[in-house]
Amino acid sequence: MSMPSPQLESMYQEVILDHYKHPHHKGLQDDFDAEVHHVNPTCGDEVTLRVRVRDGAVAEVSYDGQGCSISQASTSVMTELVTGRQVTDALGLQEEFLALMQGRGQVEPDEESLEDAVVFAGVAKYPARVKCALLGWMAWKDATARAVAGEGNPV
């Protein structure tokens, strides 16, 4: 295969293709506090996502979905990052990822905190794809807010 151009090299990194082909935490789990269904109307990407919260921490995230490699891989990477974290810390990560995606390619990603999610930095330069990368993160934020509200513990 020919070499990808430098601009796009960052968009389809091996990590993205790996997560797309072998997604983590895919398959809905029965024990959950909140479930949401989010769609990206321009692409037809969709995700159904479930969250279980215990003692202020993200105990489990599971999902099912379909769509482009960016939306599906980003959701898979997200589940790895937030699972086991305190809800407040995980929401901080979500904010950081959102800022990266909305940064039009001008925001330098912090690999220390975002870990594998930094591979999506290249997506920020393509406005049409930003919603794809954010789909799973927004669904997780929504589901977690509902789960926390259900517990009566405001974040």
Binding site: M1, L8, Y12, D45
Partner: protein, 428 residues
């Protein structure tokens, strides 16, 4: 040189390299590769003469039209009205007054739908009135711009919204036409060539059936205009609309052609400057067509440049362009299916089909296909192409679409095929 022999004509040789020289953007590189622009059904690129025409009007002849008495106003008005003559001739319209300039085809179709609702209280406009029991007919392959305005009209008037369904190959179910268009039908609005499937519809049959039941017939020619001769007298419909930017012209200008007796009886849609006869605080009378339907300052420079685009097309020759595109289409229909996992959505033969091909690639989402092709300099469209019911009909969330134009080469189709093979491999 990639020359294509027109097999239907005598010895017409189409010099695509010469055509390409007219388009400065085709010299661009994208991500270090030569641009392969296969998204002309979305919007066509512009020849230098069109770019120059717009700039020339602003640089040397610009003023508002139809109201200024000074020299520049007269020059701009003359150029604007000459453009109407050019478009009228292009459509073989019986009268120049049947050509209404709109901002695009969406506005042209909305103009009709809203004028029809205004007819409910407009004297002499009975034939445009709709109500409960009346039916509006479209097809299942419409672009949203020829679907949503009619759904909205049905909602406003209580009329029933109906459609002619699609068969498995991407054509209208022939047997359904005479049933769906019936004595209750008041409006039949359909696409000439589908933007999502490439299908060319049986226009003569649909128009004849509409006429038989006394319905108004409207042809959405957005995708047909750049590829097929549009003779409104031969088509025989009541209204035909197209947009400039797909016909190598500028954005911001579309055309609605309508039979004069209908336009003359039809109430206005937008009110404003230049569409009136006389205005009084207690009532207003309206200008004759086409000005009745052109409220406000129009897209002057764009209308003038659209005429230049029409002349450019006529210069190359629509028949020659069509023959070239048929050759491209036949080649593409032959080579695309050789890509592993590729499935064409729409007719798989060149019969009654335009040079726009939608497809899916197993295991790869269309947005990934399009993004990875872009990396190779190839521009295609991915999504539902503003015709979501088509995707629903064929059970796909989205498709990738390659569309060809006067400047497309056989080599570019081969580049597409090579790119698709690479993309398929990445995801296996």
């Amino acid at each position: 040189m990639t020359a294509v022999t027109d097999l239907s004509g005598a010895h017409a040789v189409y010099d695509v390299d010469r055509v390409r020289k007219d388009f400065p953007i085709l010299g661009r590189e994208i991500h270090g590769r030569p641009l392969v622009y296969l998204d002309s059904a979305n919007s066509a690129q512009k020849p230098q003469v069109v770019i120059d025409a717009e700039a020339d009007l602003y640089a040397h002849h610009y003023a508002n039209v139809a109201r200024a008495v000074h020299t520049l106003g007269s020059e701009a008005t003359n150029a604007f009205e000459a453009a109407r003559d050019t478009v009228a001739a292009f459509l073989n319209a019986p009268s120049r007054d049947e050509v209404v300039f709109t901002k695009n085809i969406s506005e042209a179709l909305n103009l009709l739908a809203y004028s029809f609702s205004n007819a409910s209280t407009f004297p002499g406009a009975e034939r445009f009135r709709l109500g409960p029991g009346d039916e509006i007919v479209v097809t299942e392959m419409e672009h949203h711009s020829n679907l949503v305005p009619w759904q909205l009209l049905a909602q406003r008037t209580g009329a029933t919204f109906r459609w002619i369904p699609l068969d498995d190959e991407g054509r209208l179910v022939s047997a359904a036409i005479d049933e769906v268009i019936n004595e209750r039908t008041k409006v039949v609005s359909f696409v000439y060539q589908s933007n999502a499937l490439g299908t060319i519809n049986p226009v003569a049959r649909l128009v004849a059936r509409a006429r038989e039941v006394g319905a108004i017939s409207i042809v959405d020619a957005a995708q047909a205009a750049p590829h097929l001769p549009l003779d409104v007298q031969e088509i025989g419909a009541d209204f035909v609309a197209f947009t400039g930017h797909k016909l190598y012209g500028p954005t911001g200008v579309g055309v609605l052609w309508g039979r004069y007796d209908l336009l003359a009886a039809m109430p206005p849609f937008l009110g404003g400057g230049e569409m009136i006869e006389t205005v009084d605080m207690t009532g207003t009378t309206y200008a004759a067509p086409p000005h009745r339907f052109e409220a406000g300052t129009p897209a002057i420079a764009q209308v003038v440049a659209l005429a230049t685009a029409v002349e450019w097309v006529q210069g190359v020759g629509l028949d020659a362009i069509h023959a070239h595109e048929v050759a491209l289409l036949e080649h593409a229909l032959e080579v695309l299916p050789t890509v592993e996992g590729l499935h064409i959505v729409g007719p798989t033969t060149a019969v009654d089909r335009g040079a726009t091909i939608s497809f899916t690639l197993d295991g790869v989402h269309p947005h990934d296909v399009a993004q990875l092709l872009d990396e190779r300099g190839i521009a295609v469209r991915a999504g539902h192409h503003c015709a979501r019911p088509v995707c629903v009909r064929y059970g796909v969330a989205a498709t990738t679409r390659a569309s060809f134009a006067a400047y497309t080469t056989l080599g570019e189709i081969d580049a597409l095929v090579a790119g698709l093979r690479e993309v398929g491999e990445m995801f296996r």
